[in-house]
Symmetry: C3
Subunit: 386 residues, 3 copies
């Protein structure tokens, strides 16, 4: 195979420091095999007794690629792996896999079950690298509601809270894909609509109802407040847990909204996108402010991520594609996000170079763009970090 | 190529006895080339004079892989192939190709043009293997209507008829994808709705109207009766003949119904799925009761089935993927379903093993799961057959 | 790699004269690098200063495959390439790349920005090959409106104008995908509906409004007039510029209309289709009057077009797939359409032949069908051209 001998290209991919432009914290504490298995799937259901979540592409990839970092042989059994993981302890496992990932800068989204995982500062410290924050638009509202508040002032209070919470952030994130889908009315909602929707929601919360916002008017209001804030907006797109309706996360459904916000010059970062990554590549080609990545899908497709990576390199200008792991929890996902991306890029680009379709220098340039240059430009990372 | 030398993996794939978890009978009688060509396509239209249906992936695969089993050279012409087929006779051709398929157990769906094809017992005898029955939910209703019946008693009568006809069945099948699409109201219909819809349908039938049920209330009622029956429910998904609207057979449209029936613990078997097999893989990952296969598409994509098989191994846990041929009629489809699956699995898994991504032992384990273990567990085949 | 040594198959693919069944004219005049970059993307937006459109698959393919035809080394820089292009001049560049493409017959669609590009006669002359015309249905109407006209007579006048303008045409084309989407009411509109819609449109035009037809009744009327005209109807499908909603260009949405016009025996040519080419292959299998190609996507996916070409060879009978470049403007797109198709077909088919799945003779037959025989039959090109 083409990956067996070292080339300028393979060395470049191996050594490039990545910006992981969408990631969450690594687990703080030790977990049992049962707990671990529930964290290496997007399913939130109990795992049936007749199966192991290790029997999947991501499970095989953990046993193949993470085991050696824990001083185990390749293809160690799941039981051996989990035992060794407990022996070493989560702090050491995090340290090894985070530093071994070659991720140089983590853009950490903090809005989901933050008490179980490392915060951005701890992530940076554990990896010995940089970390910045991405703020979840819905989480800002839910914090606000948790501390009371009235409907009439809600729009202003949200804008102020967003400004405060993003003071040091490099981007914001919307999960409207989860809470509603991309088939929303694209226009900015009128203030009285927002006040009315906020009223219903806040009353519900006051009466002990759920904090979770599912009202499409409010979700749109957060998105537009994100546009006004001016930072790049990450949108969960495509594949995720069963809370979402996958077909309503096709990024093409966003087209009207993408057009509406085009004058604002705010950048739209479509996350994951699988299995709609070809559709995302189309949007990235035709709209100057649209970017995307194929994180998450890369992790969960394991060795098949090579094909997904190749498919992500079709229509998009190379200045519009980014790297992310979208890892949450088990640090294996952070490590594999980087490792499988490196392996997939090496196989795909090496094949194209060897066939004479691409020059090796061009391939190295594309690697650097996707690995870090595009993210550095879009998120202004140089401005913030040395 | 990696497939040229024998390995533990390639031997395992060659020798594994398959459970074909969704298949129909093989043709009973000899057919002309013209008739045969109408049976190796999902089109139900007359074949234009300027084309041969043999000029397709499945046609090339028949000439490549079935010809030698009929003692012809590889790539025999269509004319030579059909001549030899007639000389040997359908009984002998069925015997050779069914026994040569290495399918050890056929789960035969009997609801479509049953008089032209072998029934489950005849299939088992011709192959020298086991055969079990899968009952089509709509066919049970249509038998009932054909023998009269009144609307008020219809719901109860259907439930009783389903119980009777599935006494020895291992599963049921719904073709709501054909008759309506997956964009149906997911909730169980109320009894009076069912009675009303049954009344209209039965009156129509009595007046000489079509027996074929297309009323969505009735189709949903059958599905829910299937849930109550408790056997695994197979659903035609994706690719099929022009009776269906392919975009309304995207399995993601089933999501609300999949969630509704989750408490029943009944297993959902998504059949075929092409070109929505990545979407099916997502559902299989996130819902414990969802399974799928890529039969039919494998046959009709011929050598390209290698890619489809690889794509079927992305998100799904390996305990959720099954083998099927979905063959109906020409026994070449039964043989190719098995043969192309073996070839595709060999190429894909051998590549992953040789690249060092998967261990050979793991690859063999996955082969066994997909080939038969998953089906054996879901359909309780051990309980029924020695 | 299998492409490095010459075989009967590789020679056949290299030498076959192509019918480009959907193409536009090449640029008439020299262009600057800035102008050129806006023409090698489907985006119609200004190209941001931080990126070059050359950093894309199509840009890399230009530097790799077109540079040598302009006597530059492979992988010449964009700047070197553009300089050389200006030095040689557009006439010479057109001559070299058109004649070097091995396209023997251009079916030129003339309805878009015709003053900037060569007309069919000029295309034929520049290439030293044949050229025929395909007439855009919407353009006929817009010419009519530009020269006045009243609503009541519009339906008849349109039919007459279409007859006149297609007197020497080999086909017609609809861009209803751009102007509305494929989710239109499929039935032929009633005459009074058409008159009413025409009235509103013509009044608007008379009052200085846009000539561009976006009324779905009129767009459907054009389509049905095209059916009555009896020539093959090309439909823009899938990928294109941001004027369209890509998800509304899924060819499956056309299914009801495809069924309605089936009795007319008029052929439907689905153009481009990416990323819905598997869906197009399904339609081509099940409906005798449906054809498709994967042009445009081939150009813009560059080296990844190999995968797209393989995917286009799944369900379709081989008598239903055609070649097109869909090039407009830079003659590099005409050249690459042909060159990338030849390279992709060579890699894909050579792989299948070497693995023993296809015979070499069959592969050569399929090449000839897709390259020219299918188009020659459908468009009756022999009848028109010696």
């Amino acid at each position: 195979m083409s990956t067996n001998h070292e080339t300028l290209l393979s060395r470049s991919i191996r050594d490039v420091l990545l910006v992981d432009h969408h990631v969450h914290g690594a687990l703080k504490n030790d977990v049992s095999q049962g707990e671990f298995e529930t964290l290496i799937t997007e399913s939130d259901r109990e795992i049936p007794a007749w199966m192991s979540q290790f029997d999947s592409q991501v499970g095989f990839a953990i046993r193949r690629w993470c085991a050696p970092v824990l001083d185990l042989p390749e293809y160690a059994t799941a039981r051996e792996y989990m035992q060794k993981r407990l022996t070493l302890g989560t702090v050491e496992v995090n340290r090894r896999l985070l530093s071994g990932s070659g991720i140089g800068h983590f853009l950490v989204e903090t809005g989901y079950r933050g008490d179980e995982i490392l915060n951005p500062e701890e992530m940076g410290r554990s990896a010995g690298r940089l970390a910045s924050e991405v703020v979840r638009l819905e989480a800002v509202a839910e914090s606000l509601a948790a501390s009371g508040g009235n409907a009439k002032d809600f729009p202003d209070q949200y804008v102020q809270a967003l400004a405060r919470s993003t003071e040091h952030a490099v981007g914001v994130k919307s999960i409207i894909a989860y809470r509603w889908g991309f088939d929303f009315e694209p226009a900015r909602p009128a203030n009285d609509e927002v006040v009315k929707a906020a009223g219903q929601w806040l009353e519900g919360v006051a009466a002990g109802g759920p904090l979770k916002v599912e009202d499409p008017v409010l979700l749109r209001f957060f998105l537009w407040a994100g546009v006004d804030r001016g930072l790049p907006i990450q949108l969960h797109t495509g594949y995720g847990d069963p809370d979402l309706r996958l077909d309503r996360c096709d990024p093409l459904l966003l087209t009207p909204w993408i057009k509406l916000i085009e004058p604002s010059a705010v950048d739209i970062m479509l996350l994951h996108c699988y299995p709609y990554h070809r559709q995302a590549g189309y949007l990235a080609q035709v709209f100057p402010h649209v970017y995307f990545d194929v994180g998450l899908g890369v992790n969960y497709a394991g060795v098949q991520s090579e094909q997904i990576i190749a498919e992500s390199l079709e229509l998009t200008p190379f200045s519009k594609l980014l790297f992310s792991s979208d890892a949450w929890g088990p640090v294996e996902l952070h490590y594999l996000g980087a490792t499988l991306w490196r392996k997939g890029m090496t196989k795909v680009l090496q094949r194209w170079v060897e066939a004479g379709d691409w020059s090796e220098n061009d391939a190295v340039r594309v690697v650097n763009m996707v690995a870090s240059e595009n993210a550095t430009r879009v998120y202004h990372l140089n401005r913030r970090h040395g």
